[in-house]
Amino acid sequence: MDKLDIKVLIKQVPNTSEVKIDPHTGTLMREGMESIINPDDLHAIEAALQLRDTHGGKVTAISMGPPQAKDVLREALGMGVDECILLTDRAFAGADTLATSYTLGKCVLRLGRFDLVIAGHQAIDGDTAQIGPQVAEFLGIPQVIRAIRLEIRGDGLLAERTAEEGTEIVKSTLPALVTVTKEANDPRYLFVPLLMAAFEEDAPIRVWGGNDIGADEAGTGLKGSPTRVRRTFTPSHNKKIERLNGMPADMARTLVERLRERKVI
């Protein structure tokens, strides 16, 4: 296989593992949440870089988001990605996965020939894991979901993917789309000189809007999104709790009684 042209899709997300719930209102406190690169996407970048380092070629990172999503692209450059596209446009706001996959897909097509698109398996905020398969469908190419190992074999792709019990080896034609999980690799550290360069004026980050990728406004953002979030709420637990008391042996006996009453044992 000649030089590879790889696109990596990366998303900026709030660090949801540090979510705080307002104790008074019971709602999510979004302010002051740190923004990070989606954890799976670090592994997507690493997978792309490893293939490039073996076969030669070019890795382009693409992110759709607000202007500050440039931060995650700088991080990608710091890891060694060759060039980046930031897709940012008012018309992109409010996108569900259908509109997001359309926008990302249009960008990939606009960039011309490609061999592989690599994405994270799942974003930790939206949590849908739908973008990978939907971009693959938009591009009309096969997909390997939850890959943990990738290899170019001849003019095709050999990959190991997580199945429900164990793993499977699959073979696909190229171009293809792959999503990876954290088992795939250990992402490399940022290389400081590269990261510094990513903050320079001439850093290879192009900022594109809808017109640049030839997107139809009806397909992007809220307009292109069939789903609507009607309401959000924090999960509540209004269960009646029974606290057992006494010596361990007493509590154990009471517990067995309770479980028998509830007919769960």
Binding site: V19, L98, G126, T167, A215, A218, P226, T227, A249, V256
Partner: protein, 397 residues
């Protein structure tokens, strides 16, 4: 509404020819032409990879009243119907009744006709049967073809998939091909009594946030549904359904990916999602020996042993036994949490359990907020006593 091809943008890829449900598109001089038969359904508009097909629809509102019935896409494993499918049938039955429409089971696979009877007994009014040797378990593309074609032909109002790895690989492609919305990993489904829209509730933000999502203007409304959450109905022996065979037209491009080898199960087979009782341990269990104690308890209860990510990271459990956001979602009758703090990433995967017992030395541990029965005590004192109490026959104590 009208649909037309913008000639300067059409590259002649013929994608729309396959997508048009009524065959109204043909090629002329390398460019797609939409013929008189066109009923403006808009399927081609979304499918065109080059955006060359335009419509004057101000929004995507199709005639949604033409879409009827609730579909459940059945999933098989080694040729057998999975329990998540029965759960979907239970849920789908309720939705179909609320809409006053039919519940249809979609059975697609190599040889699946023998399951039609079971689908009927599980509540189906109609069984759509699609058999083809190309429909191989684990390969998404042939199923995408079969199911999309069936939807375009029959126009259901709702299509439900199980949120299994396969369902979550398949459903997004179907939704993209149809250009309709898809709600991921739902834990609650209802019909809005006024609008008749499907109310799809799902966790996001790692379980910290619940969202109710609707797709008011497009049909079908599609969801993947988390296994272990919905309740299957008891089978009604002798219940009958109409069985309708549908044609399957798998194309060579649907076979660009194939499975070379299944690496034999890495771990002893464990089916947490279908377990009735789970004994689960965390950091507080301290060691592999500690888990030996939990295994003894589990043995007496006919339970599976599971745990937190820390227990897996420590090597006390294999990764397939991890419960939580990045592990399995479970919903047993009984979940006994031993030495587990109850971080949201863990509880997101077990909150739906019917009865939760928490054993933890820390009275402020968050696990107690979701427990039904709380024991604030050292698990190494409680679990052995529990084993003793269980060994005594009922009534002896």
């Amino acid at each position: 509404m009208a649909v037309w091809v913008k000639k300067s943008e059409c590259v002649g890829c013929e994608t729309c020819l396959d997508v048009c449900p009524i065959g109204a598109i043909s090629m002329s001089e390398g460019i797609a032409v939409i013929g008189d038969k066109c009923n403006s359904c808009g399927a081609c508009v979304e499918s065109c990879p080059h955006g060359a097909i335009k419509s004057d629809a101000s929004d995507r509102k199709a005639d949604i009243s033409a879409f009827k019935d609730v579909w459940v896409v059945a999933e098989t494993r080694q040729g057998n119907i999975r329990s998540c499918t029965s759960e979907l049938m239970g849920c789908g039955r309720g939705l179909a009744d609320a809409l006053g429409q039919r519940l249809c089971a979609v059975l697609a696979g190599k040889e699946v006709s023998s399951h039609a009877g079971a689908m009927a007994e599980n509540g189906a009014d109609i069984v759509y049967l699609m058999e083809d040797k190309g429909l191989e378990e684990g390969l998404a593309l042939p199923y995408v073809r079969a199911i999309t074609d069936a939807v375009l032909e029959k126009r259901p109002a709702v299509v439900l998939f199980a949120a299994t790895p396969f369902g979550r690989e398949l459903a997004p492609r179907v939704s993209r091909r149809l250009g309709v919305g898809l709600t991921a990993d739902c834990t609650g489904l209802d019909i809005d009594p006024e609008t008749k829209n499907l109310l799809q509730t799902r966790p996001a933000w790692g379980g910290n946030l619940m969202a109710t999502i609707i797709s008011p203007d497009t049909r079908p409304q599609m969801s993947t549904v988390r296994p272990g959450v919905m309740k299957a109905l008891p089978a009604e022996p002798g219940r009958k359904a109409e069985v309708v065979q549908l044609k399957v037209n798998i194309k060579p491009e649907d076979q660009r990916l194939n499975i070379q080898e299944l690496k034999k199960e890495l771990y002893k087979h464990v089916n947490l999602t279908e377990a009735r009782v789970i004994v689960s341990g965390g950091h507080g269990v301290e060691s592999k020996d500690g888990f030996g104690l939990l295994e003894e308890l589990a043995g007496l209860l006919g339970a599976e042993v599971a745990g937190t990510r820390i227990a897996v990271e420590e090597g006390w459990l294999t990764p397939d036994r991890q419960v939580g956001q990045t592990g399995k979602s479970v919903c047993p009758e009984l979940y006994i949490a031993c030495g587990i703090s109850g971080a949201i990433q863990h509880s997101a995967g077990m909150m739906g359990s019917k009865t939760i017992v928490a054993i933890n030395t820390d009275p402020a541990a968050p696990i107690f907020a979701i427990a039904d029965i709380a024991i604030v005590e050292d698990l190494f004192k409680i679990v052995p006593e529990l084993i003793t109490a269980l060994k005594m026959k009922e009534g002896e104590n």
